[in-house]
């Protein structure tokens, strides 16, 4: 990793605290952790979708408005051309906007991952400093969460 500056930050922790993550931006940051990675599928030639979208998007949008779906703009419509699925995930959003001393302290969080008795992960979070929202998956064998979707619209 290229180091852009040489500010030295020192943190003290006990054992079993998991991995610590720190927001490096003065506004926001985000983290996705995939314990088993994910599986992606993508249409290679998305150009083929363009004519189809042009032919249909007006009528789809009119239909949405008529049915009172909460879609304000045509560009809010999504046609999925690819996705990444993962069975296990942890995600966090960091907000550094309201830190008491801008630039000196950063929102930080620790994530510890342990195997449960069903050989699935259990996630343990600790919000060390600042404003961080976080959540994670639970073992649900019939669910196939998508962590990323690719759009053609």
């Amino acid at each position: 990793m290229v180091l852009s500056s040489f500010n030295l930050l020192i943190f003290l922790f006990g054992r079993g605290m998991g991995q610590m993550y720190e927001c490096q931006d003065q506004t926001y940051g985000a983290l996705l952790y995939l314990p088993h990675g994910g599986h992606s599928k993508d249409v290679i030639r998305t150009k083929a979708f363009e004519e189809y979208i042009k032919d249909n998007v007006d009528s789809w949008f009119r239909w949405l408005k008529r049915k009172n779906f909460p879609v304000q703009r045509m560009e809010d419509l999504i046609l999925v051309t690819g996705c990444t699925l993962a069975t296990s995930w942890a995600a966090a959003v960091f907000d550094n906007n309201n830190m008491p001393t801008a630039g000196s302290d950063s929102a930080t969080i620790s994530l510890d991952i342990q195997k449960s008795n069903r050989d699935r992960e259990q996630f343990f979070w600790r919000n060390n400093r600042g404003n961080v929202e976080y959540h994670n998956s639970y073992f649900e064998p019939v669910s196939f969460p998508v962590v990323f979707s690719r759009r053609g619209l």
Binding site: L3, I10, Y21, G37, D42, I44, I78, C83, R150, L153
Partner: protein
């Protein structure tokens, strides 16, 4: 999150990874669909989940396209557009935007 919805911040931040729309709530919407699929048309909910309306690889009046509302009749997208689907694996580990790991194993020192 005091200023912005976490789902919006999460999506905006992880867009820099060029992997598509990052969903803060990746679980399929219960009783609407089981798994997101290529060809799905929908929109994002405020909580960061994807709401599926219908799938254009299926006929407009397919039962799975009529769960929320019956869509207007459309010409199904021909299957030959989906012949070339590339599959790949996403590695295990972290995917971050403006977030870094802090080495807290021993001296717990992080150089920024």
């Amino acid at each position: 999150m005091s200023v912005h919805q976490p789902s919006n911040v999460y999506r905006e931040q992880l867009s820099s990874l060029n992997r598509g729309l990052a969903l803060w709530n990746p679980k399929p919407v219960e009783n609407i669909y089981d798994q997101i699929s290529i060809g799905d048309v929908g929109y994002l909910l405020e909580n960061g989940a994807f709401m599926r309306l219908f799938n254009v690889t299926l006929s407009w009046d397919d039962p799975s396209n009529r769960i929320l509302e019956v869509p207007e009749e459309y010409k199904r997208l021909e299957q030959n557009h989906f012949i070339n689907v590339h599959s790949s694996e996403m590695r295990q580990g972290e995917y971050c935007s403006h977030v870094s790991k802090v080495d807290n194993t021993h001296a717990n020192t992080h150089i920024e």
